[in-house]
Structures are given as C-alpha cells and as structure tokens.
C-alpha cells in the first residue's frame, strides 16, 4: 500500500547504474614498454565490458535508487500487524449493494470477493456479513465463528443489489453501532472489508466522515474494473417554467446517439423524442386539474437500466392554501388572502376556515397551511398540524395576542413574553434564504410591539429585530417545514402589511412552502413520511402494488423506506396520493474515486475509543508510514556507496612504474 504509487516508476532509474557499470573509462596513464610489436590497440568501444563491474558498488547503487523510489511512494504498513494477527479478530465483510453495483460485472465480482474472504477467514476469527445500501446497513449474518461461515455463504447466495445510494460517510459513521463496537470498548479488533466499486459520488461532504470507528482497520476491495462507463440517466424532471403544460427533462452521462426519451403520463405513453442533447422539452400536454404521474424513460436501456427512468408527481391547476384565522373576514385574513392570491405560478386558491369550521381531514390536502395567531389552535388541531408537518407538510404561522395570553406558542412550544412598547425595526435579514431573496426594504417596517422568545437549537432565525428578538424563524419537522412570524398582521402591532415587501414575502413563502406546485420527491433508500396518521385504515403500495407497510405498522409508522423507484400510492382515509420515488442521480455516475483519495481514506486513523487504547492494549489498525526507516536506510546506503566508490576510484588507474 502506497500513498503515492506513481513514484515507484523511479525504480526504472536503476538502468542508469547498470549502464554506467558496463563502461570502463579510458585510462590516460602512459607507460613505457619495450616494443609495441606484440601489442594490439584497443578502441574505446572495445573497452566496454561485456560483464558488469564492481558488483557490490552496483548493488549498493541499485538499492539506493530503489529505496529512494520507495521513500517517495510512501509505503504504509499496517500498525502492529503481527500483534493483531495473533489475536482473534472480527472480520466484517460489507458488500456495497447500491444501484451502481448492478452495472457490468461488479456485482458478481463483489460476490466472488466476499466468498474468497469467507474462505480465507482464519479459525479463531469471527465473521459477519453486511449489506450496505441507502440509509440502512442490513446485517445478513454473524458474527459467527469462521467454521460456521456456511450460513453466511447461503445468505450471500440470495443477496441482490438494490437501487439505493451508498454514502461512504454514513457507512463509516454508523459502522461503530452495527459492528457492536460503538465506543471501542470491545476487546476484539475489527477488520472491515468493504467490497465496493469506490464510486466517486459515494464520498461524503466531509472527508473526516470516512474515518473508521475505533479499533477498526479498513480494507477496501475494489470491484469496479477498468471498463469505461456508457451509462446515461435522467437527472431532472419537471414542468417548464415558461409553459406549465410542457415537461422538461435533463439527461446526463454518456448520451450516445440512437436513444430516445419516452414520456408517460398517468401510465400512458404520450410522446417520444430522440435524445440528441442533455436538455429536452416535450410538447405541451393537456392535463386536467389535480395530481398526475409523469414518467420519462430512456429507450433502449443501457448497462444500468434502473436509472433510465425518472418519476414525478405533478400538480396541475390551482394549488389549495388553507388559511386558518379567528375571523375569516378579519384584517389579518384579508392581508393573507390578498398576498397569497397574488401568486401566479402556481396559482394558489385560498380556503379560509376557523377552528370551529375545520373539517377532520382539512389538513391533508392543502399544499400549505397558514395560521394567523397560533393561540387559536385547539390541542387536537395542534397535534394534527404537527403530524402534518412530520409527514412533510408546510405551515406558515404567526403569533398573536391569543398565543401571548397562553404564554407560549402551542405549535412550536416556545415560551413567549412581551418585549414592551418601544418601536423597533428589522436588524438583520438572512437574504440567502429563498423566502427572503427578493424582498427588500425590511427596515422600512416598524414594529410597535413585539414578542420575545428563545429559539430552539435547531431553529433557524431568518429575520431578527434590532434588539435581537427573532421576527421570522424556520423549524424543520422531518420533511416538513414551519415558518413562524413572531408578529401578527395587526396595525396595532406593526405596519408590515402595508408595505409591498409583505406581498412579495408572502408570495415567496407560499411558493417555497407549497413546493413549487409539485409533490415532494423521495429517493430510494431514504425514508419518507407517509403522512398516514391516527388510524389504521391507511396503506402504502409500492410500484409493484405490494403493501409497503405491515399491518401492525399502518396506524403508527409515519416513515416508509422505499426499495425501488416508481410511484408509491398512499391511501389515506379521505384521499389517495402518489409519491414519486427515484434513484439518486449521484448513484448513476459510475466514475470511481481517484487513487489519491482512496489512499488518504485508507491512511485515516480510526477514531479514538471511549477509553484509552493504550490502557486496554487495543491496537489502532491505522497504516503506519515506514518513511523514517527508509530514510535511515538511504543514509546508510549512501555512506556505504561513498566508501566503495572511493575504493574503486583508487584502483581505477594503473600506477606508472
């Protein structure tokens, strides 16, 4: 294992001493001789020896060059390898079963590598088999003794690659838990064999996330091969921004001629177009109002057909926004309605309601819910709204006198108190947020009264007043989002509603929270909120029509882990929704990690255990550089070479008599 293996080419430099040692320099010493009658002149060419000279010196010089090349290549040796080998180890064989492993012969190579590892496991060691894909690492068997590896071989025979993405950072971060050595307190050392195609897109955002867990040595088994990938995939699918009746796709990868994109809407083929460039725009389609399942598939299929199709659920027509206020005809309701109704794309339809007129399933269908003064919410409404948020819904809420009277915001749970009657203005605005990117002149608005609250750790303050009190904060609930405006739309409290920026802010917030008129997208291997709450009458069906939730889980489980791409049907009490699940486009890029990154990964030391390894005798398995020893060897060889070269130079010329 070398950090810079290209420097090994320096070994070719041994040709230089080999060539030099075949040449005998001309001896310029002149000596008298009786007669040249019996002599024969030797030409320079003839003085070249047929045999190498000065074997010891030559060997020293070759060794010098070889060690020099090795020193530059920076070889790494496993630390205390002998000590580790003497102890029973846990051999954790992790097979990358992500989508990219279905390409070419990678999967078969991975299975062969796993079988070889199982066969080579030594008797005192134990072994376990793990399938890594998506957010879940599935332990297929073990840890068992090496002699009982037959069960693992059987599990290996039935293992199939999935369609999810594998994030190496997630794999290494969670390795401590599923290896049973999360705090490094285990007495055994672990060798984690990762059999993977070392996909570049599998790398984490932070390189440090690749650090192996404590007392774990990472050993990579690369199975990608050297074949050039011809894979192509659809990277994005959506409606055109110019014409909402047109479907736009963007393809990526190897766009070889002869392929075409086929558009399906609600299961029926609508159009075929040759795939001549990455961006492709289909003809305008006639879509009825409501949700539509849109699928674009590349034809014919390539080496990785699972990523040739992309799915989306598109909402055609108006998008409903539920406005919940104490008085549907009050000023605040009017302000909200006017601002929301100004949004053209998508067109938003405002449904006004009061807590008293709220229907049981009213929270399920709207793309966004606006609550004017959360203090008016009943406990049941708060619970349902929170569930809605957990299921991926979005809420824009304001605080008001009713919330103040309750002492806390019932929706976010934050404690409230009045800040007095001093007029303040906006102090800071996070204009990088999509909601605030366009709106300006926030400092024009005056706040005669405002509330003080302390955001939670995960809350993000988007607007703060001059005294630091948050005016607008965002909180995430899984896939759902809550935008909380801490001031009511009341002229007694502020004059925000009379400024044009308010309309812009509300329209941007509506577009942001309604998801740009599209349903949330989900990825294979990533859990999504099912949105089934409260009852046991809901069910989710995968693209093949099989129930995705077990009977015991339908009433309580809010999250589903999709295993295959396609449309998931979510049947609730009152309506049926569709969810588009796609493969992660990053998994379609089959280019591998570069060798330097792999070497740096393998050179990472394991995380420090909870208790001292030195005290417990555990040996970190990080590779150790031998560069220092090579330098000592270089110095010794250089000295020896000097001595021998000097000795040979001394006898190079004959001494005249």
């Amino acid at each position: 294992m070398f950090l810079a293996p290209w420097f090994l080419l320096g070994v070719l430099g041994i040709a230089l001493p080999l060539w030099l040692h075949r040449i005998v320099r001309e001896n310029r010493t002149r000596q008298a001789f009786a007669s040249s009658m019996l002599l024969e002149a030797s030409q320079t060419q003839r003085t070249a020896q047929r045999q190498l000279r000065y074997w010891v010196l030559l060997a020293l010089r070759i060794a010098l060059l070889v060690i020099l090349a090795l020193a530059f290549a920076q070889p790494l040796l496993p630390s205390r390898a002998a000590a580790e080998l003497a102890r029973p180890q846990l051999q954790a064989i992790v097979i990358d079963s992500s989508l990219s492993m279905q390409s070419g012969g990678r999967w078969q190579s991975a299975l062969d590598a796993a079988r070889t590892l199982l066969e080579n496991t030594r008797s005192p060691d134990r072994v376990m088999l793990v399938s890594a894909s998506g957010d879940r690492m599935q332990i297929l068997g073990g840890p068992v003794a090496a002699s009982d590896a037959g069960t693992l071989r059987a599990a290996l025979g039935s293992l199939q690659p999935g369609a999810a993405r594998l994030d190496y950072g997630l794999l290494m971060r969670t390795a401590g838990s599923w290896l049973g050595n999360s705090n490094g307190a285990s007495e055994q050392t672990i060798t984690l064999h990762l059999i993977t195609d070392l996909q570049r897109s599998g790398g984490p955002l932070r390189f440090a996330d690749l650090q192996p867990p404590a007392a774990t040595r990472l050993q990579l088994h690369e199975v990608a091969g050297t074949a050039v990938s011809g894979n192509a995939w659809i990277e994005r699918l959506g409606l055109s921004s110019q014409d909402s009746r047109q479907v736009r796709v963007r393809a990526a990868g190897n766009l070889a001629p002869g392929r075409e994109a086929v558009l399906f809407i609600d299961g029926r083929e609508r159009e075929r177009r040759p795939l001549l460039q990455a961006e492709l725009l289909f003809a305008p389609q006639r879509l009825s109002a409501g949700m539509h399942r849109v699928e674009v598939r590349l034809s014919p299929a390539d080496e990785l057909p699972q990523d040739d199709a992309r799915f989306a659920v598109i909402r055609a027509g108006d998008v409903a926004v539920l406005l919940l206020a104490a008085d549907p005809n009050g000023d605040d309701a009017a302000y909200f309605s006017a601002a929301v109704a100004s949004v053209n794309r998508p067109r938003l339809r405002v449904l006004r309601a009061t807590p008293q007129t709220l229907a049981p399933g009213a929270f399920d269908s709207p793309a966004m819910i606006v609550v004017s003064d959360t203090g008016l919410l009943s406990t049941g409404a708060v619970t349902r709204l929170r569930e809605r948020l957990q299921a991926g819904g979005t809420v824009l809420a304001t605080l008001g006198p009713r919330a103040v009277s309750r002492g806390s915001d019932p929706l976010s749970g934050l404690a409230l108190r009045n800040a007095g009657s001093a007029t303040v203005r906006v102090g800071s605005v996070d204009d990088s947020h999509p909601v605030l990117r366009e709106a300006q002149d926030w400092r024009a608005a005056r706040f005669f009264r405002h509330l003080l609250l302390t955001p939670a750790a995960d809350d993000k303050v988007l607007i703060a007043l001059e005294d630091g009190a948050p005016l607008l904060l965002e909180r995430r609930y899984g896939n759902g989002r809550l935008l909380l405006l801490t001031a009511p739309l009341d002229r007694d409290w502020n004059d925000l509603a009379i400024y044009p920026l308010f309309v812009r802010f509300i329209s941007d917030a509506a577009r942001y929270l309604s998801g740009d008129a599209q349903s949330p997208d989900a990825l294979v291997g990533t859990p999504f909120a099912a949105g089934l709450t409260g009852t046991s009458e809901g069910q989710i069906f995968d693209p093949e029509g099989r129930p995705a939730l077990s009977l015991s889980a339908t009433g309580t489980a809010a999250r589903v882990l999709p295993a295959s791409p396609g449309f998931y049907e979510i049947r609730g009490n009152e309506q049926t929704r569709w969810l588009a699940v796609n493969v992660d486009p990053r998994e379609s890029d089959l280019s591998p990690l570069d060798a330097a990154a792999v070497a740096r990964w393998q050179a990472l030391r394991p995380r420090v255990a909870a208790r001292s390894n030195a005290a417990s005798g555990d040996v970190p398995a990080a590779p150790v550089s031998v560069g220092r020893w090579l330098l000592w060897g270089l110095a010794a060889l250089a000295l020896a070479e000097l001595l021998f070269a000097n000795r040979h130079l001394r006898v190079r010329r004959e001494v005249a008599q």
């Binding site: 005998v24 001309e26 001896n27 310029r28 010493t29 002149r30 000596q31 008298a32 001789f33 009786a34 007669s35 040249s36 009658m37 019996l38 002599l39 024969e40 002149a41 030797s42 003839r46 003085t47 006898v651 190079r652 010329r653 004959e654 008599q657």
Partner: protein
C-alpha cells in the same frame, strides 16, 4: 675456495655491485663452484695436452700431481682454449632499456656479456665485443691478451640504450669484422621479424661460426599483469597504444608464444640455438646453457 651463495647470483644482487668486472668475477666464480658441487654437470672442456709452465701462466692450471712425480711444472691445456674465439654481440637499442624492476634488459645483457667475457678470459680464449642497435655502435676485436678483459668490460659497462633495432643491417656490418670461425653470442630482446633474424644470422652460420642467441625479456613482457586499460608507449618508435586488460589476459600470451616459436624455428633453421631468459632469473642459468651449448658443439 669459498662457495658463493646462489642468491648472490640473482640479477638484483649483481646490480648492487658497482664494478662490472667484479660482477663478472662473482658470477663466474660462484657459478663454477656450483658446477663442482653439481652431480649432473661438470666442467666440460676436453683435455688436450700438457704444456711446460712459462711465466705468466695461471698457476691454478698447474697439474700438481705431475709436479709431485716429476718435479717439473706442467699446465693442462684444453680443447676449447685452442680454437674458440668468442664474439659477443650485444643489442643496445632503446627497447633493451626497458625494465619493470631494478634490472633492465640491457643491464642484464651487460652482466651476461661480462660473465661470458670473463669466462672466456679465464679459459684463455680470445673474446671480442660488438655493440649494435640499427648499426654497429662499438667493435672490439677478439683478444686474449692480458688486460684486454678489463678494456672489454669497461666497454660493456659504458653501453647505453638508444636507437632502434636493425638486425640485418647490423649483422651485415659486423660480418665484415668476424673473419675467423668461433662462437658468436647474440644478446638481444629480438623484437624483430624472425625471417629477418634468419637472414641476418645465416651468413655467420655459413662462415662456420657457432651461434648462440640469448633472448632477454623482462618478466612483465613475458606475463603482463595490468588489470586496467593502459596506454603503452613503444620505447623505440614512440608509438602509443591503448591496450585493454582483456587483451593481455586473452591474447598476448598466445601471440608472444607464437613469436618465440617462430624465432626458435628461424634460429634452428640456420643452425643457431636460441635461449629465452628472463631478467628475473639468476645469471648462472645463462652460463649453464652456454656451457651446455659448448659441450654439444665442440
């Protein structure tokens, strides 16, 4: 007579003696002592006659057994004393000045020439000297007169290396000085064409002289020990060559041996004997071969 340790006859030891005559005497006397103790070699000069002792004769040759029986002094005379004229021809070209240790090839040649001259003088044989490189540089006719040895050794001692080697031209020149038959000792490193050597020596052989060729080479010429590439500069021509060690290791030995074999065949072809000597070898070996040669060729 005091025996002389063998190590005193090594070239390095002899080189430490400043006087060349002393070198010659030390070498020859030591060699002769060694001969008397050797079970394999004897003084091979053949006895010919007794002659009445006259003043000036060396008393060492008086036969004291005859004196005891007859009370008259006679000295023994040998075959070689009567008709052997030794002509020492010494190569003094620049290549002879090469040496990888304390004794150059020319220095060793001087030792050898002086020893041969001393030995001849000891046997009352006339000895002469010719020094040559590309031409005849010094000529001393053979003489057995008293005092001629000192002059000859002085002449040998004064020889300096220089010039190039031209055997054909040199031998043609001193052929004119060798009018009587005898023994011709050629001392050279023989960096020449073997055919040229044969052509140079052949007239002397036809003339009836016995020819003994002492080829003197340095140990480093016989077995180079360079482990690295080296530029070698020819002492005579100045030519510089970059020579690789693998050439010395793989090819030089065979090439030298082929050259020596060619020289030996060329010498044998004209009835001469060629003897290879290293400047690291003790001098008595040269004298051994010389006497062996004399034994085989009366």
């Amino acid at each position: 007579m005091q025996s002389v340790p063998p190590q005193l006859l090594t070239p390095a030891t002899l080189a430490s003696l400043a006087n060349l005559e002393l070198v010659a005497r030390t070498a020859v006397e030591g060699f002769l002592v060694g001969l008397h103790r050797s079970p394999r070699f004897g003084f091979s000069q053949e006895f010919k006659e007794y002659r009445a002792y006259v003043e000036g004769d060396d008393p060492r040759f008086v036969d004291w057994n005859v004196f005891a029986r007859t009370e008259r002094t006679y000295i023994r005379r040998y075959e070689g004393e009567t008709n052997t004229r030794l002509m020492i021809t010494m190569d003094a070209s620049a290549s002879m000045g090469y040496g990888s240790h304390s004794v150059t090839k020319l220095g060793y040649a001087k030792f050898l020439a002086a020893a041969l001259a001393y030995l001849a003088s000891r046997q009352h044989d006339p000895a002469g000297l010719i020094v040559f490189d590309s031409t005849v540089r010094e000529f001393r006719p053979p003489s057995a007169r008293a005092g001629s040895l000192s002059g000859m050794i002085h002449a040998i001692d004064a020889v300096q290396a220089g010039g190039s080697t031209n055997l054909t031209e040199s031998f043609r020149a001193f052929h004119e000085h060798v009018s009587r038959r005898g023994l011709v000792a050629v001392i050279s490193d023989l960096y020449c064409d073997p055919a040229a050597l044969a052509r140079a020596v052949q007239p002397l052989a036809y003339h009836g002289s016995d020819i003994m060729i002492f080829q003197i080479l340095d140990p480093r010429e016989l077995k180079p020990d360079w482990n690295e590439s080296v530029i070698l500069e020819d002492l005579e021509s100045g030519e510089a060559l970059n020579v690789a060690p693998d050439y010395f290791r793989d090819k030089y030995g065979a090439r030298l041996q082929a050259h020596l074999d060619s020289l030996r065949r060329a010498a044998a072809g004209v009835g001469a004997q060629q003897m290879l000597m290293s400047t690291a070898e003790p001098l008595d070996k040269a004298l051994h071969r010389y006497l062996s040669f004399r034994q085989g060729r009366p």
